[in-house]
């Protein structure tokens, strides 16, 4: 991997991490409402896989969607403004944290009903196949989503129709407080086989591995091998959402996973490869800090949606 790419990934991952930490603060201050699901610990997945996508490829995910929004390059100011429910938000303040989208970047957004976006991903892929393009859909979901009916119907249909979808499972070990072994009758990877895919399990804390695997999978899709499946093993360091009592796991478990911190893994790689020195990385951290503060300032200063917005945009046709 060339030096620029590694540093770019480092920048993006730190940007996501700091964005999330800052969001948590804003939440505590009551400036963000509703649910807030942080992506801290999972940054390598959004950054590595989206780096592998071609311009025409699509991205769709669940409610833990800030990382994907930032990785596709959505305007950071507008993302932060959305969390604050402002008119300048990516979804004009109507979506909130769980419903960020940037369709101009083919990011179809975050969806808050577990598994609800899998059928949509199937249909988005169908439209690409219908038009005979080379484009694929990267559909992200949690481990918990592999237990819902949507998962099975969508993977089956995508298999029957050989649709260009890459199913990416972000296995962070838990769906809320329920661990995978308490919720899934079979290993997640076995479920891919049921729908005609080999599937692969990789280290989701290693951005290089995420990138390479995603690239391979997308190539297979473009080579006509049909839908692909990859389970990326990761961990969320924070609670499921704000206010999670964290009764279902131990501090020791969290500490153990911190040794694999995806940003730490990349940092060590960069230093080992002498792609940059500590000072250069700290300079990036500083830039990120400024970007985040500018976004917070933009969001705070942005106007609230006009009252008329409540009634507009329910239908395309007025």
């Amino acid at each position: 991997m060339d030096k620029e790419t590694l540093l770019d990934w480092y920048r993006q991952m730190v940007l996501i991490r700091r964005f999330e930490q800052r969001s948590a603060e804003l939440y505590q201050q009551g400036k963000i409402g509703g649910f807030l699901h942080l992506y801290i610990g999972q940054e390598a997945i959004a950054v590595g896989s989206i780096a592998a996508k071609a311009e025409g490829d699509h991205v769709i995910t669940a409610y833990r969607d800030h990382g994907h929004a930032i990785a596709v390059g959505a305007d950071l100011n507008a993302v932060m403004a959305e969390l604050l429910g402002k008119q300048t938000g990516v979804s004009m303040g109507k979506g909130g944290s769980m419903h960020l989208a940037d369709v101009s970047r083919r990011y179809w957004g975050g969806y808050a009903v577990v598994g609800g976006h899998l059928p949509l991903a199937t249909g988005i892929a169908l439209a690409e196949q219908y038009r005979e393009t080379e484009n694929a859909v990267l559909c992200y979901m949690g481990d918990g989503a592999t237990n819902i009916g949507y998962f099975h119907e969508s993977l089956n249909l995508a298999g029957v129709w050989q649709l260009p979808v890459l199913w990416i499972i972000e296995n962070n070990n838990y769906g809320m407080g329920t661990s995978v072994d308490r919720a899934s009758a079979a290993p997640i990877l076995d479920k891919a086989k049921a729908y005609g895919m080999n599937g692969e399990q990789i280290d989701g804390m290693n951005v290089m591995e995420v990138y390479e695997t995603t690239q391979d999978c997308l190539q297979k899709i473009r080579d006509g091998e049909g839908p692909q499946f990859v389970e990326m093993i990761t961990y969320r360091y924070e609670g499921h959402s704000m206010g999670d009592p964290l009764r279902y796991r131990t501090k020791e478990e969290v500490e153990k996973w911190r040794e694999d911190d995806p940003i730490g893994v990349l940092e060590r790689h960069i230093l080992d490869e002498k792609a940059a020195d500590q000072e250069a990385l700290e300079a990036i951290d500083g830039e990120v800090e400024e970007r985040i503060e500018a976004a917070v300032q933009f969001a705070e200063e942005s106007p609230l949606p006009e009252p008329e917005a409540l009634y507009s945009g329910i239908y395309v046709e007025a």
Partner: protein
């Protein structure tokens, strides 16, 4: 003008729209090789092929969602639910996804999908296969819900639905498939969200739609023989709901009966009655009546099933109570 069945009218609308726009395609259970459970798409698979007439597995949730996703990404899917009873499995995709994405993402995307769903009782199919759950779907802003009562409206409304940029649930009453009516050869549309007076009269206003419209028209003919002239208003669209013609008629007759095939409780009738009293309170000369399905699951036995369903006699009885 040719007199064709409502089934043929729907079939013609689909074929003509598919010929007009290559982004229009059909997906659903048994729509292709079988030719459609109600034979609406018979011959389509031979004419348009696998790509545009797509048989799906028995997977209502992904039928609902994949059609919405394909629509978001530029196509014009017409997804058929074998019956509206099974569309309830896809309620979350229809209501929480297709009907919400445009608003929830600040107008960034649209989902111009059409869901066709035959439904209704009266065919001895028992409690699970006989629902008229129109009101469940009509409850949610963001979704358009239409249900035609004549072949002419069926063809014109389906064309409007396919051309609409919004998600539309198109409810077909299965007992109307054989109903014949005049349908022009040339291309036309019926606007969504526009009610229409189907029969003029000055003594009472009967408000209905779909199969209820036919029941109401029959009742009106009988009433005319007894000297009562009923005006019959066809809603055609449940959302958006056009109250214009119903209100205008009510302000002339001062009496109304709402006829629907769904259950009485929390039904279309409840909504219409509320709107009449809100918007025309000073014109109320008698209680506004509701003729609707009894509050029971529908049984198999023909005698029992018919007892629960609406019919012209029930409409006539309701009218006689208030004129």
């Amino acid at each position: 003008m040719a007199r064709i069945t409502l089934r043929q009218a729907i079939s013609d609308a689909l074929r003509e729209e598919m010929q007009r726009d290559e982004n229009v395609f059909i997906m659903g259970e048994e729509v292709g090789v079988w030719g459609g459970t109600y034979a609406v798409t018979r011959g389509f698979h031979d004419e348009f092929g696998d790509k545009r007439v797509r048989d799906t597995p028995i997977s209502e949730m992904v039928i609902g969602g994949a059609a919405a996703g394909a629509a978001m990404n530029g196509l014009r899917p017409v997804a058929e639910f074998m019956t509206i009873n099974f569309a309830m499995l896809a309620l979350d995709q229809i209501v929480n996804h297709a009907a919400k994405v445009h608003y929830m993402f600040g107008g960034q995307m649209k989902a111009p999908v059409v869901y066709r769903a035959p439904g209704g009782g009266g065919r001895q199919l028992g409690a699970t296969h006989s629902h008229t759950p129109d009101v469940i779907f009509a409850h949610f802003p963001g979704l358009t819900v239409v249900s035609p009562g004549t072949p002419y409206d069926a063809k014109g409304l389906l064309k409007s639905a396919i051309r609409s940029d919004d998600p539309v649930l198109f409810i077909e009453h299965a007992t109307l498939y054989q109903l014949r009516g005049e349908v022009p050869e040339e291309d036309y549309t019926v606007p969504i969200g526009v009610s229409e007076v189907k029969r003029e009269g000055s003594d009472v206003t009967i408000i209905s739609y779909a199969q209820g419209l036919q029941v109401s028209l029959e009742a009106a003919e009988q009433l005319a023989k007894e000297g009562v002239e009923a005006e019959v208003v066809d809603l055609r669209s449940l959302r958006p709901l056009d109250m214009g013609p119903a209100l205008e008629s009510f302000k002339k007759t001062f009496r109304a009966v709402v006829v629907e095939e769904g259950h009485r409780g929390y039904g279309i009738g409840a909504e219409i009655v509320a709107r009449l009293q809100e918007e025309a309170f000073d014109y109320i000369d008698a209680p506004i009546k509701r003729v609707a399905q009894d509050e029971t699951p529908l049984p198999y036995s023909q005698e029992l099933e018919q007892m629960a369903l609406i019919n012209p006699d029930k409409v006539i009885a309701a009218v006689k109570e208030i004129v």
